[in-house]
């Protein structure tokens, strides 16, 4: 009896000690789409305990069909979000005061894929190219405008069935997502039918982590720790791709999302590729000022933003100094 009591006391003391020692700061993170390998780094960071090690309790909440990650950030439903650079800049211009704390994507991932027979963008003049209505297609439209490709843009919600049915001559895809489906739908598409926007002078990076400036002021340490741990997650994913795909699929299953192994593998592989700067061949996870300026100018030119957004107002200080 005495033995039991002493054991109990010991356990209690230990748990108290544990509790007091670990004060986990809660962070709600919303990626810009449903669970998939595009956000592998974050799921890996949770699974491998990188966030916990940094004293963070991270919860990932997907945006769902009706909302965007930016809107959730705006409404305070998420502490940190992932979104594309251009969307973030447009949002900033619209008044959502966000800052960039991590720039995971270093290369643009948009690819125009054409039906067999069309081997140059010029040939798309007067032809139909499907692009999503749900955003992220501005860059392609800008490019078409700038080069006077008289493309007839067909707005589509999502998916590749327009391409499969032959209703369109080309389709705008994400290199890491729809591109895979388009290349594997039996339409005999070859690499000659693919056109990476990055190769045509529109190499604007995409995914990055953002939080409200106000959040950053209050919790800069947490934000930086989150960015750091997320980076660790990405680096782990780079080193252990198969394991990371397994982790992502596990999370997808939890969210009742059916996943295709080969698709997720492709997605992770391409995301990793796009995280590497083509010139320096490194994944810096920071936003290059020159490239930022380039993005700013394009948006300005095409009227997506009303005024220039200075770099240091856009990128969080700690992240910048790297």
């Amino acid at each position: 009896m005495k033995r039991l009591l002493t054991n109990l006391l010991f356990v209690l003391a230990l748990s108290c000690a544990t509790l007091s020692a670990q004060e986990l700061h809660k962070i709600i993170f919303t990626p810009q789409w449903q669970t998939q390998a595009q956000f592998a780094g974050y799921y890996v960071a949770i699974e491998k305990g990188f966030y916990k090690e940094s004293g963070l309790d991270v919860e990932i909440v997907s945006p769902g069909m009706s909302t965007t990650s930016i809107s959730r950030l705006k409404h305070g439903e998420a502490d940190v979000i992932s979104t594309q650079l251009l969307q973030a800049m447009v949002a900033k211009d619209e008044g959502i005061d966000l800052v960039n704390i991590l720039q995971s994507s270093q290369t643009n991932g948009l690819v125009v894929v054409t039906q067999p027979g069309i081997t140059s963008l010029a040939e798309l003049s007067g032809k139909r190219v499907a692009a999503w209505t749900s955003g992220f297609s501005e860059l392609a439209r800008c490019m078409a405008r700038d080069n006077e490709h008289n493309i007839q843009w067909i707005n589509i919600p999502s998916g590749v069935n327009y391409f499969v049915s032959g209703a369109v001559d080309g389709i705008l895809t994400m290199y890491y997502n729809e591109y895979f489906q388009v290349m594997n739908c039996g339409r005999r598409v070859t690499l000659d039918n693919t056109f990476h926007l990055a190769d045509y002078g529109y190499n604007i990076p995409e995914d990055g982590l953002y939080c409200l400036k106000s959040t950053y002021r209050k919790r800069s340490k947490d934000m930086n720790l989150f960015a750091e741990a997320s980076r660790r997650g990405w680096e782990y994913a780079r080193a252990h791709p198969e394991e990371s795909v397994e982790i992502v699929r596990k999370w997808m299953k939890k969210d009742n999302i059916a996943s295709s192994l080969s698709h997720q593998r492709w997605m992770l592989e391409k995301i990793m590729e796009l995280q590497v700067n083509k010139e320096t061949c490194t994944a810096s996870y920071t936003l290059d000022p020159a490239i930022y300026k380039f993005a700013n100018d394009i948006l300005r030119k095409n009227g997506f933003i009303r005024k220039d957004i200075p770099y240091d107002e856009f990128v969080a200080p700690k992240a910048e100094s790297k």
């Binding site: 589509i156 069935n161 049915s165 209703a167 594997n184 059916a258 080969s262 698709h263 492709w266």
Partner: protein, 778 residues
């Protein structure tokens, strides 16, 4: 059990093994061929079956789908009617859904502001909810139907269109496809679409039930390869045939099959799925662009065949075993007598001729074997008996022959020297029959001063010849007692033999009577070969008349011949067994060889002459068999001779005595002075040996005889000491230097060199050394 496997040692085992091997090969060949054809049959019927099944299913689907599309196409006429009021559309769509259980939902979507009062979006939509039908508006800012596939794609394609299947918004499990038919106004312009949503549950069920084999499964893909029906629910609308191909080791297999399916082809292929070989059948669902596939594991298709083959194989194996056992036993039964035959044969070989043979009940080859064996057994017994009697008869004959041989040998004078005391005659003879008994003969005796001698050869050899030889010899002895002329003696013998000579045997004969005092020889020849005459150291053939052998003609006029032999002449008589002695190469010894060997042998003693000639013949004959009886009779006539005998003591002083005696002897017989020295030396050497060693230190005497006849000196030294034959001592090697040579032996060597002949005899416990030297008279 071990015996069972001793195949090599058992006829039954070996033969049945061969049979099994042949039968086994035949089985294997037959089964393989039949299996091959069965396999092909099963395969082609499975393919046909799959084709038919798939065709049936796709046809069913096409029928259903085209049925719906036709129906929808018919309805649109109503809608296209420009006078149709907007609200009627609601009724229309409700009606369509209500009246068609196949249709899960129906919508009519119009271009913006088609009905001006209805606004931007106008798309009445009816759908089934439980038992009732609900109608609502589809279009709103949250649902911009203008971009939806079912609206925009047919619009862009300007064709009626079946969408790719998708999950129904209402429930997660139901897969739906929408058929959109284009609505046009009377100008042919696009005004909207009329859609019908079809639940693909029935498709799912039908495809799932497409399971001709227990482990086969089927799936369907849409226009882009995406799975729309699949046993693995997770794959539906999530993976395509192309995306799962990427997970394979070799993606190109499924990729090319997927491409064929998407292209609307039908066919079959062999693929590997989960390490198992499977047959892959595919066929398109026409018009709509989807495709159906069926995967059938090979094991399933051939399951029955495998089972059957297994059973057949087991039966064949069992049968083979049965054949093996049956053959083995049967053959063992048949061959078991062979074992007893073998055992019996062994016993017979060991002498038991009466061993019992196994009984054979069959009337076949085994019975034949047994009968032959029994016959052989009986014959063996007879043969052994006759062999025994023959052997004993032979032995008897042989022993009798041996006796005959001894008798025959007893008939001829065999003691030599025949007349030791006589100094006027030296005679020696030798008879060597080819078989135990022979037909050669010689005989001699002295009566007074006359030497009667005979040498002869009966025709033939062996017992017949020996009998005639005995008769001839007896007749010689008896008839020469009273007939004093050689011819008379010969005639009498001849006549006696000729009578009753049915066998026509004859005898060659040379008969002579030598006067020992005068050297006169009277002789008669009867067909015998001429003797060799050594006279004055020359060799020639003794001249004589040939006449004919005795025994052939009655009263043949044989005639005497007379000649005077020189002093010391040698008459060397022989039979043709000498000159016709065959060598291994069938070469005869011949007269020439005889003359050659006799050169210079006059100075030899008769015994030595015979020895020398026989040795030469032996050398010629070598290992060949003796072809004929070989007889020699050599006579030396020494009617005029001079001899002295000295008896000396074994003291060195006697050497001088001898020397003096020899000197006087030499003078008497006219020995040339130059020869005296070596002769003295030789003699001295010999007697010194005798003096010193013969009596081993004890006193003793020895005799020295010095004689001369026809220029041949003969010295005979006789002692009674220890046996010593100097002639047999090896000549020392005189080529060696003085230091290297062995001490002694030179004396005897000297004697041998200086004398013409050195002969040693041992008789009556005496050493008799005879030295001879021919002297050249002045």
């Amino acid at each position: 059990m071990k015996k069972f496997f001793k195949i090599r040692e058992s006829f039954a085992a070996r033969t049945s093994m061969y049979i099994i091997i042949v039968v086994g090969i035949v089985f294997i060949a037959t089964l393989s061929v039949s299996f091959y054809f069965s396999y092909k049959t099963v395969e082609s019927s499975a393919m046909k079956n799959a084709e038919v099944t798939m065709a049936k299913t796709t046809l069913e689907m096409e029928r259903l789908l085209s049925g719906i599309s036709k129906m929808v196409d018919n309805i649109k006429l109503v809608v296209e009617d420009g006078n149709l009021p907007a609200d009627t559309v609601y009724l229309l769509v409700r009606q369509i859904v209500a009246n068609n259980t196949d249709i899960a939902g129906c919508a009519v979507a119009f271009e913006p502001y088609y009905f001006k009062d209805k606004g931007y979006y106008f798309s009445p939509f009816a759908y089934r909810q439980g038992d009732s039908v609900v109608v609502k508006q589809l279009g709103n800012p949250d649902y911009d139907y203008f971009t939806m596939e079912w609206y925009q794609i047919p619009k862009l394609l300007d064709k009626n269109f079946w969408t790719e299947p998708y999950y129904d918004e209402g429930g997660g499990e139901s897969i739906v496809s929408t058929y959109s038919t284009i609505l046009r106004n009377k100008n042919g312009e696009f005004i909207g679409v009329l859609t019908a949503d079809i639940s693909l549950d029935w498709l799912s069920t039908t495809v799932q039930n497409l399971k001709p084999y227990p482990n086969s499964y089927s799936f369907a893909i849409g226009c882009g390869g995406t799975f729309i029906v699949h046993p693995d629910k997770d794959k539906i609308l999530n993976e395509s045939i192309f995306s799962i191909a990427l997970e394979d080791e070799d993606p190109t297999v499924m990729q090319s099959l997927g491409q064929k399916m998407v292209d609307g082809e039908s066919g079959e292929a062999k693929i590997v799925r989960d390490d198992k070989l499977c047959y892959f059948f595919y066929a398109p669902i026409e018009q709509i662009g989807w495709s159906l596939a069926m995967v059938c594991p090979k094991d399933d298709i051939f399951a029955d065949l495998s089972k059957m083959s297994q059973v057949v194989f087991n039966v064949a194996l069992f049968g083979l075993l049965l054949i093996l056992v049956f053959c083995r036993l049967t053959m063992q039964k048949v061959a078991s007598p062979l074992k007893s035959f073998a055992a019996s044969a062994k016993k017979v070989a060991h002498g038991d001729f009466n061993v019992a043979l196994p009984e054979i009940s069959s009337k076949d080859e085994m019975k034949e074997l047994r009968d032959s064996f029994g016959y052989m057994q009986k014959e063996l017994v007879h043969y052994m008996a006759s062999l025994e009697s023959t052997a004993s008869a032979k032995e008897k004959i042989e022993s009798e022959l041996r006796i005959a041989h001894n008798i025959q040998q007893g008939m001829i004078p065999k003691t030599f020297p025949a007349f030791p005391t006589r100094t006027d005659l030296d005679i020696y003879a030798s008879l060597d029959p080819a078989k135990e008994v022979g037909g050669d003969l010689y005989d001699f005796y002295i009566e007074g001063d006359l030497l009667y001698f005979i040498i002869g050869d009966v025709s033939g050899k062996g017992v017949p010849a020996s009998l005639l030889m005995a008769v001839t010899r007896s007749l010689f002895r008896s008839n020469s007692a009273y007939l004093k002329k050689p011819a008379d003696i010969v005639s009498s013998i001849s006549n006696a033999i000729t009578e009753g000579n049915d066998s026509n045997l004859f005898v060659t004969l040379f008969l002579g009577i030598l006067n020992l005092k005068t050297g006169e020889l009277r002789y008669c020849n009867a067909g015998h070969n001429h003797p060799v005459l050594l006279s004055d150291d020359t060799v020639s053939f003794f001249p004589m008349k040939p006449n004919i052998p005795i025994g052939l003609f009655h009263d043949f006029p044989y005639e005497d011949e007379v000649t005077q032999l020189a002093n010391g002449a040698v008459l060397f008589c022989y039979t043709d067994g000498l000159t016709e002695a065959e060598s291994e190469t069938k070469e005869l010894y011949g007269d020439d060889r005889l003359l050659a060997i006799m050169q210079g042998k006059q100075r030899y003693s008769s015994k030595r002459q015979v020895q020398v000639v026989l040795a030469d013949v032996a050398k010629h004959v070598g290992k060949a068999d003796q072809s004929d009886d070989l007889t020699i009779l050599t006579i030396t006539s020494k009617f005029s001779n001079y001899s002295e005998v000295l008896t000396l003591k074994n003291e060195m002083s006697e050497v001088e005595t001898l020397k003096l005696a020899m000197d006087s002897f030499f003078e008497k017989v006219n020995v040339p002075p130059e020869m005296a020295m070596p002769l003295q030396l030789s003699m001295e050497e010999v007697i010194v040996n005798v003096i010193m060693y013969a009596y081993a230190g004890k006193p003793g005497t020895f005799e020295v005889e010095l004689s001369e006849c026809a220029s041949v000196l003969t010295f005979v030294i006789t002692d009674s000491g220890i046996p010593f034959n100097p002639a047999e001592k090896e000549d020392p090697d005189i080529t060696l230097a003085a230091e290297d040579r062995q001490i002694g032996g030179l004396g005897v060597f000297l004697v041998k060199q200086l004398m013409d002949d050195v002969e040693y005899n041992r008789r009556n416990n005496q050493n008799i050394l005879t030295l001879r030297k021919a002297i050249n008279k002045k």
